[in-house]
């Protein structure tokens, strides 16, 4: 029962994620750790975006394509 309450509290905490005010947001944005994170993660996402990503679109459900070029 106690564990369940803790879980609910935890859930509540996430659901009530606080809105950052401008000052708090600025502090994060100016931090070294955030700068590193955003710089790196943006590059990773860009790379992923620029992949030729067309794995699903070309198949119909009957899937009559040859079995892919499995190098």
């Amino acid at each position: 029962e106690k564990k369940r309450k803790e879980e609910l509290d935890k859930q509540k905490k996430v659901q009530l994620a606080k809105d950052l005010n401008d000052k708090e947001r600025d502090k994060i944005i100016h931090s070294v750790e955030f700068t590193k994170f955003i710089d790196y993660s943006t590059k990773v996402a860009l790379r992923a975006l620029n992949e030729t990503y067309d794995i699903i679109t070309n198949y119909s459900e009957s899937a009559d394509l040859d079995s892919g070029d499995e190098d």
Partner: protein
């Protein structure tokens, strides 16, 4: 880094024609930057923060318990009929996440959108 610089860094992502939205949040789900509307932002920040945490947990659970180096999530792509969500977690500090929402349809000239 000024907020203007954050804009500069995210610009190529936001400007990408396949990108529907970009959301940066901390691990509590508090929004640091978003290009999505307020309702969607709130929903995505809440749900994806939790989902990311569960994913990290799952990755640890299937890792060898006696491994010298712990495994860690580095990138997540959730493709669905309507869109693809890409999540770039904060691998070093686990404090933030970058979420990119993209159109799953690419290179289709005609209207074939059955998967």
């Amino acid at each position: 880094m000024a907020s203007l610089e954050l804009e500069e860094i995210l610009k190529p992502l936001i400007a990408n024609p396949h990108v529907l939205g970009v959301l940066v949040a901390n691990k509590e789900g508090s929004v640091i930057k978003t290009t999505l509307d307020a309702v969607i932002t709130k929903l995505y920040a809440d749900k994806l923060t939790k989902y990311l945490e569960m994913t990290q947990k799952m990755i640890q659970e299937i890792d060898e318990p006696d491994a010298p180096q712990k495994n860690e999530l580095t990138f997540l792509r959730i493709r669905s009929k309507k869109h693809e969500i890409m999540i770039s977690p904060d691998v070093t500090e686990h404090k933030y996440m970058l979420m990119v929402l993209q159109n799953p349809e690419r290179k289709t000239e005609s209207g074939k959108d059955r998967i």
